[in-house]
Symmetry: D2
Subunit: 424 residues, 4 copies
Amino acid sequence: MLLNRSLIDQHNESALKTHQLKLAGLQNELPHTEGIISLLSAFQVAIPSWALGTGGTRFGRFSGGGEPRNLEEKMEDVALLHQLNRSSGAISLHIPWDIPENPKHIRALANQYDLRFDAVNSNTFQDQPGQNYSYKFGSLQHVDKTVRQQAIDHNIEVIKHGIELGSESLTVWLSDGSCFPGQLNFRKAFQRTLESLQEIYGALPDNWKMFVEYKAFEPNFYSMTVGDWGQSLLFANKLGPKAFTLVDLGHHLPNANIEQIVSLLLMEGKLAGFHFNDSKYGDDDLTVGSINPYQLFLIFNELVEGMNARGMNHAKDLGWMIDASHNVKDPLEDLLQSVEAIQLAYAQALIVDTPALQKAQENNDVVRCQEILQAAYRTDLRPLVAEARMRAGGALQPLQLFREQELRQQLIKARGEKAIATGL
Amino acid sequence: MLLNRSLIDQHNESALKTHQLKLAGLQNELPHTEGIISLLSAFQVAIPSWALGTGGTRFGRFSGGGEPRNLEEKMEDVALLHQLNRSSGAISLHIPWDIPENPKHIRALANQYDLRFDAVNSNTFQDQPGQNYSYKFGSLQHVDKTVRQQAIDHNIEVIKHGIELGSESLTVWLSDGSCFPGQLNFRKAFQRTLESLQEIYGALPDNWKMFVEYKAFEPNFYSMTVGDWGQSLLFANKLGPKAFTLVDLGHHLPNANIEQIVSLLLMEGKLAGFHFNDSKYGDDDLTVGSINPYQLFLIFNELVEGMNARGMNHAKDLGWMIDASHNVKDPLEDLLQSVEAIQLAYAQALIVDTPALQKAQENNDVVRCQEILQAAYRTDLRPLVAEARMRAGGALQPLQLFREQELRQQLIKARGEKAIATGL
Amino acid sequence: MLLNRSLIDQHNESALKTHQLKLAGLQNELPHTEGIISLLSAFQVAIPSWALGTGGTRFGRFSGGGEPRNLEEKMEDVALLHQLNRSSGAISLHIPWDIPENPKHIRALANQYDLRFDAVNSNTFQDQPGQNYSYKFGSLQHVDKTVRQQAIDHNIEVIKHGIELGSESLTVWLSDGSCFPGQLNFRKAFQRTLESLQEIYGALPDNWKMFVEYKAFEPNFYSMTVGDWGQSLLFANKLGPKAFTLVDLGHHLPNANIEQIVSLLLMEGKLAGFHFNDSKYGDDDLTVGSINPYQLFLIFNELVEGMNARGMNHAKDLGWMIDASHNVKDPLEDLLQSVEAIQLAYAQALIVDTPALQKAQENNDVVRCQEILQAAYRTDLRPLVAEARMRAGGALQPLQLFREQELRQQLIKARGEKAIATGL
Amino acid sequence: MLLNRSLIDQHNESALKTHQLKLAGLQNELPHTEGIISLLSAFQVAIPSWALGTGGTRFGRFSGGGEPRNLEEKMEDVALLHQLNRSSGAISLHIPWDIPENPKHIRALANQYDLRFDAVNSNTFQDQPGQNYSYKFGSLQHVDKTVRQQAIDHNIEVIKHGIELGSESLTVWLSDGSCFPGQLNFRKAFQRTLESLQEIYGALPDNWKMFVEYKAFEPNFYSMTVGDWGQSLLFANKLGPKAFTLVDLGHHLPNANIEQIVSLLLMEGKLAGFHFNDSKYGDDDLTVGSINPYQLFLIFNELVEGMNARGMNHAKDLGWMIDASHNVKDPLEDLLQSVEAIQLAYAQALIVDTPALQKAQENNDVVRCQEILQAAYRTDLRPLVAEARMRAGGALQPLQLFREQELRQQLIKARGEKAIATGL
């Protein structure tokens, strides 16, 4: 279900005058708006296939109707998002939730929708019906080689699916760990995991990357075998040049300084990219920018500075994905909010007065450093982001258009009230 | 499935000599072992019906086989536990997971098993099939009175079930809250919740208590409407003398001093009792005493001191329940470990040299205060707890006997590999 | 040292044109800017006398030169701030760091500077030279009545100083607590503290308030006797209608939802006011708004909603104070940043579309709730705050003017490089 | 001030009978008590020179009288501890707090006292009187090379002092970091710090080690340049084979799994050793084992397992130091408690049934893993530790003897009520 192009134009026209007035103020104030607009246009955020349905917790899941029932419908949803914001031109699949039975067809569909396939994700944290061995006590870390082999094979299978679709990276998130002191020999668990990862690494095509994601806790509540960036980096370094550390914003202990981690991983040439979301307590998987938007800006500030220092291409050299999932919002509306929050933070980082900041840092002028960052952050860049969107063919106000056109109601009509997407 | 009495006797006999040797050492060392043994014997910990099956997380659930398939089988499991440790003589039901279709029969069964029914628990955090209104946006706090009424009615229904079984308390745990800033008007949510609780309170029989449980986060990840002991106490005070605050050890922010909360609630006459478990990160629901046994002792130290100061009956005046649930242990073995951890902590608290501690406190002799507490804590009281168990008819080593007799295998044989209990 | 009025005018004139352009954009966009400007003008934030010198940690203190050497110079600094931003028209004294030897003179000076005296603060967390008894083991909680009496007397003395200066509230922050399990009987410590507070409460003039501040940890690292809002509220309720709970933003456990606490304290009619600062880990006492400005906005959102719901006067009915202290910024520049951050958050809260928010809340339209809050937050209100400042006679850009006029260098010249203010 | 040998003998004699009875019970129960006793005897814990005086917080310091006034008196205190417990045969100096003016004399004194010099500690977190450049904005990370050079030179100076005394390691703890977003370029700060450390590393004698200590926060409250084990390990790896990561138990974010970190650092051959203490909230620097003794045991469990796996010498191959400091206990009594807590945890780890644990781990028998660990932990090993102490010439009950002999009173008599040791 895509929107008729003319409806977007109509929407834009009706909002154009107000928009242009606000934009003019910004253009007046900021020197390089055109450069920022083109960087924003190039910047695409991958949508995870599992975020298109209502997420849930162990306490319950409250589906909302009209959820995509299969991979084709998930792609349809992403296509709709991308049509609205022109910044969601990629999808990240999760195997086995989204096995592409007919890859050619799926690839053709993607072309038609102007989508590419971002990292493919393996799943060894759940048992699937008919599976030979259980992951109850871990997968790549398991004490039993046959279980590890099953998990290795699954990952290699996921790579194969990815190749068929044109993906170029594999995200390995392991729930492996332990719930009780004594359950695990940490060292041996690390080493078994490393050996398993090495086998998977060996199956990567030349142009592929492996993203090793870390997480501090949940679902294991005593230890996680890839528990922090230090452990992930150890794995990535031992694996080789195609292995990188993936940062999920919700996967840290309380009060962690994530932006510093980002900066150091970039320094080491080992940052894979992001799973964006926001959180207050743990892996809450809330809408990006909904809890602490300043932190998101500070992360982008490190990203822009660090990528520029290494001559990296903002749009291509790192993986940008959303990983949010919760109960109380329409998933598509939620994703529109998340993408916009990312774009705003990115734009704010792009207008930081870098030479002035460097000078202030060199003078230990801490007051000035804060002024410079907050001047960028406090500037209302919503018109700039909207302009980039409109120029790329999207809607000035995607969320508003989504509602005006009653798109969810249409999806419910097409798919039913009880449609439930695969996912958590 | 109960154990043949003679098997317990046999087990005890075989372990008796070693046991008596260790016990003699303790009796030699400690002045009042007989008094402690009789307090231990009187102390019963209620087993929650939902802990008899393997728990899980939003990422997966790995059942273990032989789980109870209905209320009768759950009671059978508790009876087995109680037979082994003589300290699990109560069961706490969760409605609608355990609706007693035939209460007379259930009550007779309980009598036969020597079990009583502890607090009954309502559930308004999940939607049940066929339910008129959804709790997606809360239950007792809901903006819509019809939803609140449904939740109120459910709680009153739960009270009725409880009356039929001889329960005398209702535990209200609300997942109500919000996931995003702005979603809720905190004040109005509090007031609506209060009004709903007042209606439920009005339906309590004279001899009943209402336990208002608080929780800092999960499943709502921005705010919880009964989020900490302060909020719960506000509710309990506004409700009246039959309302109390229930403490679940895993429901706090990081680093909270739970023992101080316990002491103050006792001071205010508003402590309901406990949901025991252990945790490292959040509501991890791990085996009691598995992560921080010293904290458990410190809590019991406050309990014993505070209950004695108010002339309370240790065994009867507070509600003692377990609330644990996780993936990687046999649920019955897990409960045996939890009950033993509670008994040990209680016994340790009972041997604290209270007059010496008071004197040290009055002299600000902090070193001595620590010595006194740790002397009690470091004393190995396992023989005393075992003795109390044996005298009451239980097994010296319940876990060992459970394994020797291959009780889980027998349960699997009776109930099947795929039996899955209701619960999280 | 005050600035020549003409310098402010000159500064404003030079920045006026740019300012007016930006302001016009806002006025165009927002309906009630005049009302907001007058609320902003009325809103005064008290400066704590101890924040005028460089703060420090137990690891060291790095003074910066030109710090005020006595109360008169501290008032001079606040007067300078107030001249620059017209929003710092109050000072909060700390006894015994700032004993007004000659109150008449001090009061005259305050009049001259257009300053009033906000809450006076007692100090029973340090031993003063010549003091009879030590607070090593607490003050109002102390096991020894003579020590408690000394602390009570000190608080009454502080009230007397406050009366002489025209203060109308006493802030009691207690470091009382314990460092080790067993050190304290929590209940008795609470009760002794309550009795002590009651004696102080009895000495309050009719028009005075007592602010009971809570803190989760530091300097005591096991328990704090007024450790959270629940405990503070217990004290305040037991003390009577003149006692209130004071919120310091840095005094919570990790991840606490402070805005919810604020809302509930307002509901109970027991919110005293604030000690503003920001923090990432504990009581870091950083510049307001420097770490999590969105949280600050969310707090003001609750304040505005809650004060309006109770018909309260924003400027007068609560105590607004800064309590920050650290090593790496010029204290006056730091305070300028803090006051501006508070004003921005207040202004953002004032432009929240309240009727729309209420409607969205009533419809459980969570996406819309977030949009409404973030629309207010993302609007760049710096021009509005600057306008309010200028109209009240202050500088459009106080920090810039402070630097242009080399005010710190002048202070150093007057007071010396080694001047060190009293404080932490 | 040393104790007359005969007083120790007398003390031991009076407690002997009770002791032997308890010991016999243990010897009966445990297979290898002799081996454990000799490992305990060999195990020495270094006492930091700064822990011999009362510590404090930024809010105050409450000295206790009789504190050592100079290095000689500090050594005298350690000698006294060592005489009492025979496990404190090393001292760790802090420069410039303890500059050995006459190293020959100091070394002779050490010989006489049977003490050796453990790691020497540099201090670049405070400014010393007469220092050319300030560390206000960092030391080894400083933007200005002259400041870095001063800090490098200081570290090299510390090495020289250490060489004179026979130390063989340098502990570098940096407070370097930032208090505000933007203040620091994380990458450049890391690289400048690395260069500085490389210069210091170059000055290490062949047989020396460099210990790079990390800390999550305080005194910097936004970022720390060596903030976690991952960063420390990056530094250690880049520096070379003589550089290692030092773990201070209080230097982590909330809920960190320290034992896992320990295991992985051992795996990497990069664990330096420990600064032992305990804490509830942050770097509380409380008595070892006073808050969470089970965690301490779990850490030792990893240490024993990991050192054995690498064929390491428990007593010599890692650095064992205490780093505690607080307000409310007599420092010497506190250290006696800390050393005993370490010995108990070590002893408990030594009696873990390792083969059984390995087997249980290989079978994913989580219940059994917990039983094995807790069986070791719950065993009361105080008699074994006392026996090891007595055999080595120390006191059965050092703390009791310290009090009986009124040693603090004697120290006060000798040094005065107002003696205050250097330190925090």
